[in-house]
Every structure is written in structure tokens, then in C-alpha cells.
Symmetry: D2
Subunit: 291 residues, 4 copies
Amino acid sequence: MCWAHSPPALFIADGDTVITETIDANGFDKDGIARCSGPNPMNGPIFVEGAEPGDALMAEIIRMTPIRATGWTRQVLAANVVEPERVRDLPKRERTDWIIDIKASTVRLKEPVAGLEHLVLPLDPMIGCFGVAPSLGQASSTATSAENGGNMDYRGFRPGTKVYLPVAVPGALFFLGDCHAIQGDGEIVGTGVETAMEVEVRLSLRKGQKPNWPRGEDAASIFTVGNARPLEQALQHATTEMFDWLMDAYGLSAVAASHLLGQVVRYEIGNVFDPAYTIVCKIEKKWLPKI
Amino acid sequence: MCWAHSPPALFIADGDTVITETIDANGFDKDGIARCSGPNPMNGPIFVEGAEPGDALMAEIIRMTPIRATGWTRQVLAANVVEPERVRDLPKRERTDWIIDIKASTVRLKEPVAGLEHLVLPLDPMIGCFGVAPSLGQASSTATSAENGGNMDYRGFRPGTKVYLPVAVPGALFFLGDCHAIQGDGEIVGTGVETAMEVEVRLSLRKGQKPNWPRGEDAASIFTVGNARPLEQALQHATTEMFDWLMDAYGLSAVAASHLLGQVVRYEIGNVFDPAYTIVCKIEKKWLPKI
Amino acid sequence: MCWAHSPPALFIADGDTVITETIDANGFDKDGIARCSGPNPMNGPIFVEGAEPGDALMAEIIRMTPIRATGWTRQVLAANVVEPERVRDLPKRERTDWIIDIKASTVRLKEPVAGLEHLVLPLDPMIGCFGVAPSLGQASSTATSAENGGNMDYRGFRPGTKVYLPVAVPGALFFLGDCHAIQGDGEIVGTGVETAMEVEVRLSLRKGQKPNWPRGEDAASIFTVGNARPLEQALQHATTEMFDWLMDAYGLSAVAASHLLGQVVRYEIGNVFDPAYTIVCKIEKKWLPKI
Amino acid sequence: MCWAHSPPALFIADGDTVITETIDANGFDKDGIARCSGPNPMNGPIFVEGAEPGDALMAEIIRMTPIRATGWTRQVLAANVVEPERVRDLPKRERTDWIIDIKASTVRLKEPVAGLEHLVLPLDPMIGCFGVAPSLGQASSTATSAENGGNMDYRGFRPGTKVYLPVAVPGALFFLGDCHAIQGDGEIVGTGVETAMEVEVRLSLRKGQKPNWPRGEDAASIFTVGNARPLEQALQHATTEMFDWLMDAYGLSAVAASHLLGQVVRYEIGNVFDPAYTIVCKIEKKWLPKI
């Protein structure tokens, strides 16, 4: 963790676009050189001029380009995602290398693994960890997440997605890092395919529109994010935030919002590995009232 | 609950197809006549000749046709899916009627609700509750679920899906009911659109192939089902069952199965309302080793 | 599990005292002879004349006398009570024998264990599993517990304690078994010192006084019992039941009951091992309003 | 929260005793004057000369003397400790004043409450929040707790108790505050009787003896503390820490430590209200092997 309490690394204006090169979750850069001790060293913080507590910071993920031909994962399921008495059967958690073929836009194991010889996965870049400074002078580990974002490890944080973060300090102090070439739901081996990327992100203010928890949208859907343990609580935060969004921005009553959520809501699991788990509550835009 | 400890309602042979008319979760039939007190009265049990403990019963959901033009839902989010201090803000949980238009294949609110005047949902039938008799002479409420299935309220239990259930008693004693015209993830208002349906299901044995937890497949994916509280435990059961499936049937090592799950697994939430929650662990067939 | 759906083994009148010999959790009797397959075979059911749904059945535990000079335990912590990544370090869960010295009223390991050579524990008998038939025709495993009692494994269920159980079926159908010579909080090795006992219990009706969850009292305290997963939910049930008790029987307002609970409540953990965990909510009688 | 990232307020030597006046959880001092905005303003940090990462800091709570004749509580159960559907029935959470009679050593409600007219509680002072600086440059809210201590709200942190904290930064940076005149288990109204106290504490180093989680002892028992959500995880941390303590310091094998824990362990609930819950795992000293 490099960023906490650092002075801002960059000052930008509302609406500026930033292009930055991330290093991987262990602190290795595009050339495989150790630049920082892990876990999850971040780029930033970025001070956005005019950002004040009470605002939302909109982060548009415009582009993510891998800048290294290799990534790595842990190679065994995390102990907390299998039945407790079965943990004894798990091998130790070593590290495995993967090949990222940027031209072909694919990801595959570096060394052959029996049964997976033909496994070629699509490159599907996502930002594992990003957010703004928390409230009250807190400085959280970039291993965890909370109202301000952080290590959410949700594969929906990919190019084309906009995220609305609650600004708690002047300048917002945006940070990002921990990019993955691909990752399944839950980050259940404790990693995605960890690598270095060039990330292009536009940061804009929505004055006075601070959400309680991160909100987001892509072309098809709007979504909210709850970060907490256990999963029930993450789901409660995400659902309550969406409930409020439907009532406040779309003018629905509690009953109408419940009808809509009850029959069309989708949940996705960001991670069940980090100190705070992440659940996403999602509604397709086609079901929303016109506003 | 009508079915427990009843003598079998029907005896069939391995591979037979059954067509049955379900009543709704409150016990009302296709004509709106109360036939049974709820919750979740079931059709069955069906005794499958030759079924023995240690077998899997494969239930293929072939067809689900609504046989009533109305359904109903609860109209407010369940208290356990919102932040605890926000429960005070929820209205009381009344009942709302919906129109099921079988020709148009749509579902909509019967009375207009502000902001949802134009909400017309697709008919997307699913079986809320089905399974086989549990082990040890237990008789569970059809409000809950366990290794033997039960009230899982997962919207993936729709026509085209095959489910493999663990046979624990001679004849398996299959039951089903609680059909929904549509339902969001989590059944977070405590219901889908509850109605009566004609269901066509084929029941076949897979001798000696008893899973620990329900397994299933549709055209695109294989999946496993964990039923428990809290969500973490449901996820552990589903993940462990898939882990075992990948190792036993597809010949993967623990490490290879972890690699595959880690980067391509998808989780879906059946319900977070019933006494036991339901989480589904899913892998697209295109990623599986050939066997 | 021997008792489910058995016809009553005994019919008694309201207020009768029963003396019965239990067998251990694996079904072995006082002479070490296998009498029944485990887990947790029960004595009963006992039909109490006049018991009707809506009543409370008061079970007074009058006496518990070990009738075997040996007991046994599992010898390693259960996997779910240690940090998940540490489960790998646990040895396999074998069985260990203990000596129960009835004259000396002590319990000690049969074979010497390094560091525990001088460990002599007091005999502190408790009933691991007891209750009444559940509602709705359910038949639960005696491995678990619910509103009707069951496998609660709470060391406070000892001689001198009265328990009030919710009658759900005519005759109540009381059962008991699974006696322990001693047990720590949580039953964290999965057992107490399992043995056979002679138990004397008086069963009386409190007409129309059905609680939602088991209530109890001993000389010093009143208490309520919640049985559920996770621990939070067990605690919610126990706390809500005590809250209701203070308001209904002691005439306190919600605020007054909160004041009292907030400053004097004690929680105890019955078990964190069984399918449903058990938490006890307790208040010393000296703090209660006079009624 | 006043203390985070402040320069040390005091430098002391290993073994020095400190006497300090705390303010209440809302920042009001002994004279009822607002000195700091809440929640949970702390005294400190105190830099202990010679403290290095890898050490344990032993904090002996020598004396706690109320310095204000009034305290306050919230007056309604927290929403998360009652059954979710019952939260609707709870009144709003207002504040209530209490009288602290230092001479009589009692605590009672300031205004009469029906049914509690005669409730006079013993003064039983405890420190709600104390600890050392966390690792990795984190700065946590004093509303929560973790490996380094923090807002544990355990009533066992009273005069006569010694606590061993894991030093993560040079000087340890000890802090304390949030004193309660009395508090039930779980802090289930969200407060104890919040007041200002004079606290006398001795701080000493145990070089190289850093625990993973706080350890403690009083005259009768040793104990370990787990701080996390949900309760299961707090219990896992506390149990694992005690398991390690028994093996490392008392020379027990995993099996011997399990035997001892299984039959004599006691669990206590610190709080089920704060962001991280607190569970204490306790063993009476009389059961420990001699070392």
C-alpha cells in the first residue's frame, strides 16, 4: 500500500481525463521490476479541483490496455469458499503464471495443466481496486473496501462503465490499481490474472449528489455496490442503495420500487475473498421509469 | 404443506414423463379455489420405481404453462434484505395482484402503480420448490431447502433445465410446486409472481451417481446448488460440489479445478428470503474439458 | 435418530415425573451395547395428556445421574471454529475416551495426554438434546434445533433448570437424549463428554402460554434460547424472545425493556457446531420488576 | 475521532504508569463541555519508548474513577439485534440520562421509567475503546476494532485486567477512551452508560511476544479477543488465538489444546453493535498446565 496519506500525485480539473500505468498487486511493473511492496499498491491520489464532501465523483473507465505479456494467480481455492471440513484436502496456495496475448486478446496458462491444455480465455480487463479517500481521516488498507470503494474486485468495473463515488474530503483523492486481465465471480482463488495495465479514466463531479455507497452504470444497466462482511450485509447495503436510487431519482414509492426490484433485480458477487465482500445490485435500464 | 409423509400419489417408471397441475403458494388452484392450506403445498410425492439411496434422480423440466390469468406478489422488500436501521421505513407487507397474459407471454401489475404504468415483463416461468425426500426420516417444511432440494426459488429452474437430485429413500419421492410466472434474483419481496401452472417433467435415474447437493445443467452451463444460511455457507456448499464435480467427472486436479473456477465461475443468488438461502455456482460448458 | 414419527412411547398426565435412561450420542447404552444407530437417538416421544398447540410445556430437569463410568469426545476442534486457512493444520478428528467417576463427581481423560496429566474436571451433567414435536408435521434431524428445541447443546440445561417449550401438536411429544458429563461453551470439538444417564424430569403444562422460542429459568436467572445459523440470527431470536417476555409478563415498555437489557443482559453460546447454532439471552432475576 | 495521525501526545518509558482523564463518546468532558466531536474521541496517542513491531504492549488497567455524576445511553435496542421483521415495532433511538453516584458506587436512571423505579445498578467501569496503532499505515475509525484493539466494548476491560496488544509501529502509539460506568453484554443499545473517567494504566513491553489478536488476563482467567464481522469470524479469531497460546506458551499439542478448550472454554460477547463485533475466548487459570 503506497498511497495512504501521500500528498496528491496529480491535480486535475473537473472533467479531465487521466492516463496512468498501474503496477500489479505485488508491486511489479510492466517490466517485471518491483516498484513498491504489496498488497495492492495504488496509483494516486488524484486531487480533483472543486471536489467537496457531499459531491459524487464520476469515474468513467474509458480504456484498459495490458502493458505486460504475463500475469499471475494463486492456484488453489481460498479456504473460506469451501466447506470447512474440506479445507484439509486443499493443496497449499502457490502462484501460477499466465500468458496475456494482447494482439489475440486472450489469456492462458503459461505451463500446461492436465485437462486445461486447450483453455484459452478472452482478455476481459477490470480494475480490482479504486475509490476515493474515506471520511473521518481514516486510511484503510487497499486490501479491503467500504463506502468509498477500494478493493471490490468486481469484474463489472471494466471499460464502458461509469462509477459514482461518495466524496468525503476536498479534492476527492481518487486512486486506482490492482488490474486483472480476467477474473471469475468472487475472486475465489484470491486473485484474478494480476498484471500491469495502462488505464484511461475521466473524472467528473456531480455536485451535491453524494451516494451512500458506490453507484454505477454501463450501457445496459444501473447498479449499486455494497462492501461488507458477511455477504448478507453487503447485499443489504447494495439493495438499500438501489432502493433509495429508485425512490429519489426515479420518483418511485417504496412499494413501486419493491415491485420493480422484486421481479427484475439481478445480484452479482464481486469478491468473497477480501476483508470486505462485495455484492452488486443491478437493474436493466429498460425496466426503469423515464425521468 | 400437504405432501409430507403422505403415501405416494403416483408410481412411475424410470424415464417416465409426468404432467401435473400445481396450485399456488397459498394453496389456490387454477380457478382460484382454495385446495390446501399454504405455505407451498406440493404435488406428489411421486415414487420412481427402482430409485434407491445412492442414485441421482434427473428431473428434466420440459414445459411450464400458466393455467391462471392472475398471479400475486408481496409488495414490499423483505426486512432482511435492507439495512437493519432502515426497516422502520418500510410499509407493511401487503399483497398485490398481477395479470398473466399467456398469449402475449407477459406479466404486468393489475392495478396501475405510479411510475410503473408501462412495466410489461416477459413471462419467465420457474419452479420455486421441488426435490426428493430427505434422509433419516426427516420431513422438512416446504418453506425451506437442503441437500434434497426444496424451496430454492432459483429462476434458473425453468424449462430446458435438468436437475440431478440425491436420492435418500427408496422411490426418491419427488415433489414439486410453488411455480412463479417471473421472479428476480433473491426473491427479495418474499415471492415471485405466484400462480398455478401445468408442468411437464421427465424423471430418470442415474444409478449410483448421488451428488451431495443438487446439480443441474442447461444448454449453456452446468451448475451446483447450495442451500443454507448464511449466504457464505450456501456458497461453500455450491462451490465444494462444483469442485468435486470438476475433479470426479472431468478428471481435473484440485489445482486445475481451482484455475478454472477462479477465472470463469459465475454465482447466482436463488433466494435470500427462505429459511435456507440458495446460491448457484455455474460454469459455462464451453470451458469444460472434453470427457 | 430413532424417535421421529414413532408412536408415543409413554403417555403421562400433566405434572407427572418421568425417570428414563438415555443412551449416548452414538446409540450405546449404559453397558456399552449398541442399541440404536446415531446420531443422537432420543428417548420418547412422551405424550402429555391435555397438551394442545398454544400451550407451553414446562420441563423441570430434576436429576441427572451418570450410569456409565466412561464417556467419549472428539479430540480436535471443529473446522468451523478456527480461521479457515488454519484448518489445514488440524489433525484428523478421532475419538477419545474419558473416565466418569460418579462417586468423586469428576471427569478425566482415560489415557494420559502430555500437559493434561493433572486435569480433573467436575462432573457437570447437561442434556444435549430435548424438545417437543415441531409444527406443520415436520420431522427434524436430532442433529439440529429450532423453535421446538432439539440439539441445543447448552450447558445450562442441567439439574435445577426449568424450560418452557412451545407445544405445536396434541400431546406435545416430548423427547430427550444426548447427555453430557461436562461440556465447554460452543461444543467446539463437536461433543461434550458423551455418556448414558438416568434423567428425572417433571413435565407440566402452562395452558395458553406458548412462547415463540424456548424460555427457561434457574435459581438466579431467566433466559431465552435462539437456535439458527448464523450466530447473529440465533442472537436475534433469543433477544427478541426476551424483549417480548419483559414486555408481556413484566409490563415493561419497549424503552424500559431496552434499558434493562442494554445494561444487564448476558449472552451465552450453547453450540457453534450443530446445523443450527444456539445462543442464550439471560437476565438475573434480581434485576426484574416484581410482578 | 481526534487521535488519528496526531503526533504523540505523550512519550513514556517502558513500565511507566499514566493517569488520564477521558471524555465521553460524544466528546463531552467531566464538566459537560464539548471538547471534541465524536464518535469516540480518544486520549493519546502515547509513544512507549523502545516499542517495536514484533513486541507485545502490556496495558494494565489499574484504576477507573468516574469524574462526572452523569452518563447517558441510547434507549432502544439496536436494529441488528432483533428479528428483522420486528424492527418496525421499535421506537426511535433517543438518548437517556443516568445518575452515577460515585460514593455509593451505583448507576441509575435520571428520570423514572415505569417498572424500573427501583433499578439501582452497581458501578462497573470498563474501557470501551483502546489499542495501539494498526499496521500498514492504516488509520481506523474509533468506531471499529481489529487486531490492534479499538472499539471492542467488552465489559471485561475493567480494573484488574491486563491486555497484551500487538505492536505494529515504533512507539506502539497507545490510545484509550469511551469509558462506560456499566454495560451489558453485546452493547445492544449501542452504548453503555457513557461518561468521563480518570483512568490509571501501566504500559510495559514484552519484547518479541507480539500476539496476532489481543490477549488478556485477570485474576481468574486468561482470554483472547477476536474483532470481526460476522460473529462466527470473531469467534474463529479468538479461538485460533487461544489455540495458539495453549500450544506455544503451555506446550500443549493440537489434540491436548482441543481437549482442554472443548470441555472448559467460555465465550463472552463484547459487542454486536460496532462495525466489527467482539468475541472473547476464555479459560480459567486453574485448568492450565503449570509452566
